[in-house]
């Protein structure tokens, strides 16, 4: 799984949990909360969906790593690699 693919799958999840958000101009290096109407509970949904859809476990201590698309990709690439994806 490449970084771009990881960003895409995070965006796919956000599109499902926040269908009203316009995701066409999300800046990868800016915190998602600062550009979208997402609150801390929405991040819990992202965590749940990563587990459900991709078998990725994000322990609580790592929640902050999902702050932006860039940091999410950075964090998820090795996780997918460890799963052989």
């Amino acid at each position: 799984m490449t970084k771009d693919e990881c960003k895409k799958l995070v965006l796919d999840i956000i599109a499902d949990i926040a269908p009203d958000e316009d995701l066409s101009n999300v800046k990868p290096d800016v915190r998602l909360r600062d550009q979208l109407q997402l609150d801390s509970m929405d991040f819990l949904d992202i965590v749940m969906e990563l587990r459900k859809r991709h078998g990725i476990e994000v322990p609580e201590a790592d929640y902050l790593k999902l702050a932006s698309l860039d940091s999410s990709a950075e964090y998820l690439v090795p996780k997918f690699a460890a799963l052989g994806k």
Partner: protein, 464 residues
């Protein structure tokens, strides 16, 4: 996995009512070992069920209605709860009403339904000069209701800041007070906003009975690996260095945990810890349920819910030692659009204090229940004359003492204590309050409370 296994539970939930079940489901999505500990054999707490007549005839003791029928925001009400539970609303088979609901006071009748325009039009027709204020009220209610804290403003003052007519203020307050006012006099304007939005703006529905809803929640909880202990009253919580370490059951079993969520009530939970917290509530209920062999509409009952006051200048207080018949709530269980006709149960409730009742003399207790019921029925025939000709298959009466006995809430309080915790926190670091005493009133309110407190205080925080 047994309850006594040496490893502590990640989350221990006290109570298998709607807030406990919702919290259990939410926590079980994030933690491996979650246990719900319920005193009774059945789940549901204040919204439970029993059988009468025969084994197939099920009565839901509460369940007048399930609020928040229409989703209006993904962060609130029905969508918030369903998304957090990972369940779909359709699973619960909640049907909308077939008849509108009614608010009635002498000289004032308003209708409301799942389409908010019904109430709006009804206000416009009776109080044309108030309609702008009413619309502003609805807009503000939506903003107020999303904040998870108390505002301390009196709901009557809040209403009067939009509406001049005392009759309209009384009419709009009536269903909200009956549906969830936990203390006499008045309630906080934020709690008022939450209930107003849930009931009057988003509308209502009902499953056939509460058991079907509880069964689905239980199945979901178990499918996530959650453990459920029934017939397991907790006798005390062991506190150690500002934290709860374990719960001890009445039979001596010890359940150790890292985090605790309690739906037993704030003052009740304090007692379990050997402390005095909050302020016990006083609002309880007397209810008459009649089961009929024909649809209720055939007796001229064409309301789904009906909130009735005998005077426009009613006060939200329970007068001691007499039937609190100033304010009555009616619910016609079969006036929802079920695919098959449901049981025709008509419920009449008024508010009451446990202190008015005593079990010391069984005959006197039975006679007092009869007296209350007759008084309620007498008033009811004024609204529904045809009902006086109908014989119910069976009647059931319950008093505040019945509620107390089955829910463990002292005084049989149905909306919790007089103090709410709002953020769910207690004096102990790893113990949180969910349900009525966090501010989550009603079926949907209790479930919202279970998921929000789990998210904010348990899953997202470092508690534990």
């Amino acid at each position: 996995m047994s309850a006594e296994s040496p490893q502590p539970w990640d989350v221990v939930i006290i109570g298998g009512g709607l807030s406990g079940l919702a919290a259990g489901i939410r926590c079980a999505q994030f933690f491996k070992r979650v246990v719900i500990v319920e005193a009774h054999s059945k789940l549901g707490g204040l919204n439970s069920y029993y059988h009468k007549l025969d084994r197939r005839h099920l009565f839901s003791n509460g369940l007048h209605t399930v609020t928040n029928f229409r989703p209006t925001s993904r962060r609130w009400g029905r969508d918030l709860v369903m998304r957090n539970l990972g369940m779909s609303w359709d699973e619960f088979e909640i049907r909308p009403p077939r008849y509108p609901s009614r608010i009635s006071l002498p000289g004032v009748t308003l209708a409301f339904d799942n389409d908010p325009r019904v109430l709006e039009e009804s206000v416009a027709a009776r109080f044309p000069s108030e309609i702008d204020g009413f619309r502003r009220l609805c807009a503000v209610v939506e903003k107020e209701s999303v904040v998870l804290q108390a505002s301390h403003a009196d709901c009557f003052e809040f209403l009067r800041s939009f509406i001049a007519s005392p009759e309209l203020v009384a009419a709009l307050a009536l269903p909200i007070l009956c549906y969830g006012a936990h203390q006499e006099g008045t309630i906080d304007s934020r709690l008022f906003s939450i209930l107003f939005r849930s009931l009057l703006i988003e509308g209502c529905g009902s499953p056939v009975d509460i058991k079907s809803m509880l069964d689905r929640l239980q199945t979901r909880f178990r499918s996530l690996g959650g453990e459920l202990l029934t017939r397991s009253p907790i006798a005390s919580l062991t506190v150690d260095g500002g934290r709860v370490r374990a719960a001890t059951l009445a039979d001596g079993r010890v359940i150790e945990g890292v985090r605790f969520l309690s739906s037993a009530g704030l003052s009740e939970t304090g007692k379990l810890c050997g402390s005095q917290w909050g302020k016990p509530g006083t609002i309880s209920v007397f209810q008459w349920i009649g089961a009929y062999d024909r649809p209720l509409e055939q007796f001229g009952i064409r309301d789904t819910l009906h909130f009735a006051a005998s005077r426009v200048d009613y006060t939200w207080r329970i007068p001691g030692d007499r039937v609190f018949s100033d304010l009555i709530t009616y619910s016609a269980n079969d006036n929802y659009a079920f695919p098959q006709p449901g049981h025709a149960h008509f419920k009449i409730s008024c508010f009451s204090h446990a202190s008015e009742w005593s079990l010391a003399d069984r005959d006197a207790y039975a006679a007092q229940k009869r007296r209350y019921a007759d008084e309620l029925l007498r008033i009811t025939y004024g609204y529904y004359p045809e009902l006086s000709q109908a014989r119910p298959l069976v009647e059931d009466l319950f008093s505040p003492l019945t509620v107390e006995r089955y829910t463990h809430h002292p005084g049989g309080t149905i909306y919790g204590g007089a103090e709410k915790t709002w953020d769910g926190r207690t004096a102990l670091q790893n113990l949180f309050i969910i349900g009525n005493d966090q501010g989550g009133v009603g079926i949907m309110g209790a479930m919202t409370s279970g998921v929000l407190v789990s998210n904010l205080q348990v899953i997202l925080s470092k508690a534990g």
